[in-house]
């Protein structure tokens, strides 16, 4: 394990008016690891994702992203498109957001927009039919093809994304995120709506991303089968507070986690409440 963490969240608080969605949260995610964020509905997991990927600006706190080459980014200061472009954090959405009317291949080419923009001389050279752009586009198509192969959708490359079944749409969204060459991949409930076989395939796929491609993954998931099987590290949130942080085995046996998920006997209620700071 690397001593330097890829993402360090420090004292992150996100308020919406009077509602505190995330409260004074600190944790870190390590490179080449799968870090899972779990917690009951409304615990603030997606809010945290939106803060990391720049869709929300946190009220308080610091989000430090460190690339393997040493470059660091303060994510709370960057607009969302620069987080994807420069800090290279890619994400998927809880309710899949594909470009439904475009083909699978086009979806994956849009993900390589910034590389292709430069290659096309910000449209000018591309309009004049430059060779550089033709080569860059061929490379982009090759890359798209590689990722389509990886998620098993190569034979549907020319179909519109909106015509895919749900499970395939989820896989395509991950492939699209991978086409941006991310350092950190944030997946919001990737296994939601998948059947057992599909979710087993997803597990295997996420493992290869981690082991072969060296991607660090941050994962929100409700399916405990998936979480316990593939995570290296689990952070548990409840009502915006971190209640546990550690290896899957430790988290599984943590009394506060059990309390958050299953509730507690009445006599333990006050004690447990005091422990989680309520």
């Amino acid at each position: 394990m690397n001593a330097v963490s890829i993402l360090t969240v420090e004292h992150l608080t996100m308020r919406f008016g009077g509602l505190v969605a995330v409260s004074d949260l600190s944790f870190s995610a390590h490179p080449r690891q799968i870090t899972a964020l779990i917690g009951p509905n409304g615990a603030g997991k997606t809010t945290l994702f939106n803060c990391i990927t720049g869709f929300y600006k946190p009220t308080v706190g610091r989000l430090l992203l460190a690339h393997p080459d040493g470059a660091t980014f303060l994510l709370e200061r960057l607009p969302e498109f620069r987080i994807a472009k420069e800090a290279r954090v890619a994400r998927t959405f809880q309710n899949v957001r594909l470009f439904a009317g475009m083909t699978l291949l086009e979806n994956l080419l849009v993900a390589q927009h910034n590389t292709l923009m430069v290659a096309s001389g910000f449209t000018v050279l591309g309009l004049l039919g430059s060779r550089t752009y033709a080569h860059a586009e061929a490379d982009a198509i090759a890359k798209a093809r590689y990722w389509l192969d990886r998620v098993g959708l190569a034979d549907r490359a020319d179909d519109p994304a909106g015509a895919l079944p749900y499970g395939a749409q989820r896989r395509l969204e991950i492939a699209r995120a991978m086409c941006t060459d991310p350092v950190l991949l944030c997946l919001d409930e990737p296994a939601a709506g998948l059947n057992n076989r599909e979710s087993a395939e997803l597990n295997a796929f996420l493992r290869t991303l981690r082991d072969e491609h060296g991607i660090s993954i941050l994962l929100i998931e409700h399916d405990m089968g998936v979480v316990m099987e593939i995570s290296d590290h689990i952070v548990v949130l409840d009502y915006g507070l971190k209640i546990a942080d550690g290896a899957p085995h430790d988290v599984r046996n943590d009394s506060k986690v059990i309390a958050a998920y299953l509730g507690v006997p009445e006599e333990e209620f006050e004690r447990a409440g005091a422990e989680v700071g309520l």
Binding site: I83, R97, V110, H113, M117, T123
Partner: protein
Amino acid sequence: MSERAPVRQETDPADQRLDLSAAVKEAAIAALVAFGLFVLMIGIRTDQGPTGALVLTTRFGALAAIVAAVFVAALLRATIWRELVVAIERLVPATVRTGLSGVSGCAAIAFLIFALILPVIFYSNRYLLDLGILIVTYTMLGFGLNIVVGLAGLLDLGYVAFYAVGAYSYALIAQTFGLSFWICLPLAGILAAFAGILLGFPVLRLRGDYLAIVTLGFGEIIRLILLNWQSLTGGPNGISGVPRPSFFGLPFNTSSEGFAATFGLQYSPTHRVVFLYYVILALALLTNWVTLRLRRLPIGRAWEALREDEIACRALGINTTNTKLTAFAMGAMFGGFAGAFFATRQGFISPESFTFGESALVLAIVVLGGMGSQLGVAVAATVMLGGFELFREFDQYRMLVFGAAMVAIVIYRPRGLVSTRAPSVSLRTRKDIPAAIVQGARTETPA
């Protein structure tokens, strides 16, 4: 109506038996509505009597005829209409039914060849040449607006503003500095593109209806500025004596340095018209070529992605601000080119030429043609403007027929004439994408 028809087809044949009493009831309601609508409009009429006072005349016969016609039509619609539609659909060959896409390649080439040789065929018909110029001008405007509405999915109701900026830029620059058309044309385009960026900035956060309202306002603001900035634009009097185009330095006149004298031809005013026709045709084809090319470049794909899902675009590192602004600027630039052409053709411009009606017409061309389809826009421009001319003699009923045609299109081809989307790139086979999956300019999900 359109919603119910397909559902009914799926129902069990037993349920499809003619329910006569329901049909009569439906027809009676329709007749009642027609009566309410027309009782004052048709039933009563005031004329000036011999003494100058108004005389009330009643036309209850005509009213009864109209109401009866509506009743019969509604009755037919409720009873045998369904079978009629099915029968008609069977008559139409499959190639036509699947949209124009299957034959679009050949159709586009035929269309282009016809456009190219039109002045040769109708050389002596000045009226048709003028109509041709008008149609090609609106086709070009349609192509320009198509970038904003069809590709980027930004509903722009003020497109005529850029047309106006182009026209006034050309007129003022050409008159003040005496520069030639070919120098002023790009300048007018650039100035219009700046106007596009200027409009783009405040409306970056808006989509759909809200964007439409702001762009509508922008169109009016430009018109009001032109109307009131007397010292620069001449206000309501407009600018007259806009320099006419010359054939690369050779003016179209009777002088010895003129176009006709240089080429040893008999002078004819048609020379200029034909030249203008080819100029606008070349500009329209340039617009078309650039648009088709842009669609295959990252910026074009980003525009389409923006139409499909803006949030996903941002998550993929696309600067949506710049992407929207380039769409506005690019569309505006082509509008500016068309405006410069308009100014040089007319020789006179005034704010009256740039009313909301023009924006609506261009938008109607884009929507009827099928958003994002170049051939559809060209066909729609031809049909609409040609239709206007065709029905010019039936002055009063022209708009009525136009309105009915619009309603028919909206019911039977809501996505426009060419409704499928052709992918910009493919691995193996290029398959057109059905319209139902593609996002329209207005079906957006706000952030």
